[in-house]
């Protein structure tokens, strides 16, 4: 069920350059189904900025009714979000959309993330590991200062980092790492910039894969047709990132 809830900030921390980890508490957590779902956040009580901001669910803690978001504070909305202190409330609409199919992976999965596409892979990695699936994490960032959650991913499995400027890990993009890695996995999951998703899809045409897409959103629940993508499934239809996605099987979305 989708709820709108004033959730309470439990923790707000800067964890990398412009990157914040925000933990909030509330009943809505109980309705979270799959890793890869997102929430739609109203950052101000006023109508300025007007629109909600879509942010992925990075970690779910059902016992404590808490979940974690990791976001880049960049524009007006996310800057305001970064100002919310412990105890403040945040208007959260969610959980929204369809996430990663955790049951699809059999033995070994590649989790490939770029920048602020990395967060939803963390809950995914946890759930896959819990099911006994081995996870390998290939994560790309701008530079050393932008890297986050490296240790946390390492605790769950083999983890490779690429940075564009080479200041940490491999220099270049995640694809540079993928080229060097064996293809001994059965499923890949990816979230990040569209160009990265395309490259990943090209790299593994024969594998089962799931990709999480971004689009500018209005409603976030499927009513406004703002967030559509063309699809290979039909010439006369679009799919909506917010309600049909944001995660789609590889090969479904035309960019």
């Amino acid at each position: 069920m989708i709820r709108q809830e004033k959730m309470v900030v439990v923790s707000q921390q800067q964890i990398a350059r412009n990157i914040f980890e925000l933990i909030v508490k509330g009943d809505l957590v109980q309705d979270m189904q799959e890793p890869g779902q997102f929430v739609h956040i109203r950052v101000a009580d006023s109508f300025e900025p007007l629109l909600r901001r879509p942010i992925s669910i990075a970690e779910i803690n059902r016992e404590e009714s808490q979940f974690t978001m990791i976001y880049r504070s960049e524009g007006r909305g996310t800057s305001l979000l970064a100002e919310k202190a412990v105890g403040a409330t945040i208007d959260v609409l969610g959980p929204l959309g369809h996430g990663f199919d955790v049951d699809a992976a059999k033995a070994k999965a590649y989790l490939i993330g770029g920048g602020i596409g990395v967060p939803p892979l963390y809950q995914l990695a946890k759930e896959l590991n819990a099911k006994g699936v081995e996870t390998v994490h290939i994560l790309g960032f701008e530079s050393k200062e932008a890297v986050f959650y490296e240790e946390k991913f390492k605790a769950l499995g083999e983890t490779h980092i690429a940075t564009v400027d080479g200041s940490h890990g491999t220099q270049g993009f995640v694809t540079h790492i993928l080229n060097e890695l064996p293809k001994d996995f059965d499923t890949y999951y990816s979230c990040g910039p569209t160009a990265m998703l395309e490259a990943v899809q090209w790299a593994y045409p024969e594998k089962q894969g799931f990709l999480s897409y971004e689009q500018r959103m209005g409603c976030g629940i499927g009513a406004c047709f703002a967030c559509v993508c063309r699809t290979t499934k039909s010439e006369t239809d679009y799919i909506k990132v917010c309600s049909d996605g944001p995660v789609f099987p590889a090969g479904v979305v035309i960019v």
Binding site: Q4, R42, F47, Q215, C219, G222, A223, C224
Partner: protein, 304 residues
């Protein structure tokens, strides 16, 4: 007990609040959140004769207290709307207003004839004001002669009352209102979005793929209110007012300016419960202002 009912051609509304076309799809999504039977009516997404894919993305951009959209009338087309969307809506006890769009008169006529025959469609909203389609759309809404003729053509085939949705992108909105009145319109809905644009600050490229988009939200409320006020001065036709409504105070403003009922668009995206919340707040607000019914308050700014 405060009386919220409003009686307009084809529409016996339990209250004057309805979601605006294009901001509520065909209701399914918001039905996950609350019972749609609470609503005075629902203005469903524009329907065209054929399936429309609409414009490329990005289709929305945020602006100061507003947003731009250029969805481009994406919709499954008349056939699917008749076959699945409308029947699904029959479970709710609310009036359906079907938004009709097209790029030539024949399209409008075809859709109007068919959709007005659906058992739960109580009125048509003739969308002659969509700024986001290359052909037709807005030109119908800016030329009084074309608007009059189109209204008449649609009126001739419609089995339910016809409301015409006016564009604010005109020099003289009253002239347009008069024209559609002469064309036989049973009512007016206003306003559609103002044409606007946003550029990417780094590249200078338009953020919206369609280059321009329609501006909606609180930013446009002063313009919408002024237009409703002006049109009310010159016609007795029912007006469903909209443009930037976010709360019960905004609703009072539009009713005061002369709207008989109101629609809420963009605010649904910010607060998906905005319509039921306004409906719940309305009786007390009217009471505090010293009115016992919505109809008593309508047009009060003209009676001062």
């Amino acid at each position: 007990m405060t009386n919220l009912t409003v009686n307009l051609p084809g529409l016996n509304l339990k209250n004057p609040i309805m979601p605006a076309s294009g901001c509520f799809g065909f209701g399914k999504e918001y039905a996950q959140l609350y019972d749609l039977s609470q609503l005075g009516a629902i203005m469903i997404k524009a329907t065209t004769a054929e399936t429309r894919l609409g414009n490329p993305t990005p289709r929305v951009a945020e602006t100061s207290s507003g947003m731009l959209n250029a969805i481009g009338l994406q919709n499954p087309g008349l056939e699917k709307v008749m076959a699945s969307e409308l029947p699904w809506l029959e479970q709710y006890d609310t009036s359906i207003i079907a938004n009709v769009a097209g790029s030539q008169t024949e399209d409008y006529v075809e859709v109007a004839r068919a959709i007005s025959s659906a058992p739960n469609v109580h009125a048509l909203e003739l969308n002659i004001s969509c700024p986001n389609v290359k052909q037709g759309g807005i030109t119908f809404g800016t030329d009084p002669n074309i608007a009059r003729a189109l209204t008449r053509a649609v009126k001739d085939v419609s089995s339910v009352p016809v409301y015409v949705k006016l564009s604010p992108n005109v020099t003289d909105i009253v002239q347009l209102a008069k024209a559609v009145e002469e064309g036989g319109a049973d009512g007016i809905t206003m306003i559609n979005t103002l044409l606007g644009m946003r550029l990417d600050e780094k590249t200078g490229r338009p953020v919206i793929a369609n280059i321009t988009g329609g501006l909606s939200g609180p930013a446009i409320k002063p313009v919408a209110l002024r237009m409703v006020y002006e049109v009310r001065k010159h016609t007795d036709l029912p007006i469903i007012g909209m443009g930037g409504i976010t709360d019960v105070t905004d609703v009072i403003d539009f009713l005061s300016a002369g709207a008989n009922a109101v629609a809420v668009g963009t605010a649904n995206f910010v607060n998906p419960f905005v319509c039921p919340e306004i409906i719940a707040a309305l009786p007390e607000k009217l009471h505090d202002l010293g009115y016992e019914s919505v109809e008593e308050l309508v047009g009060r700014s003209h009676r001062l």
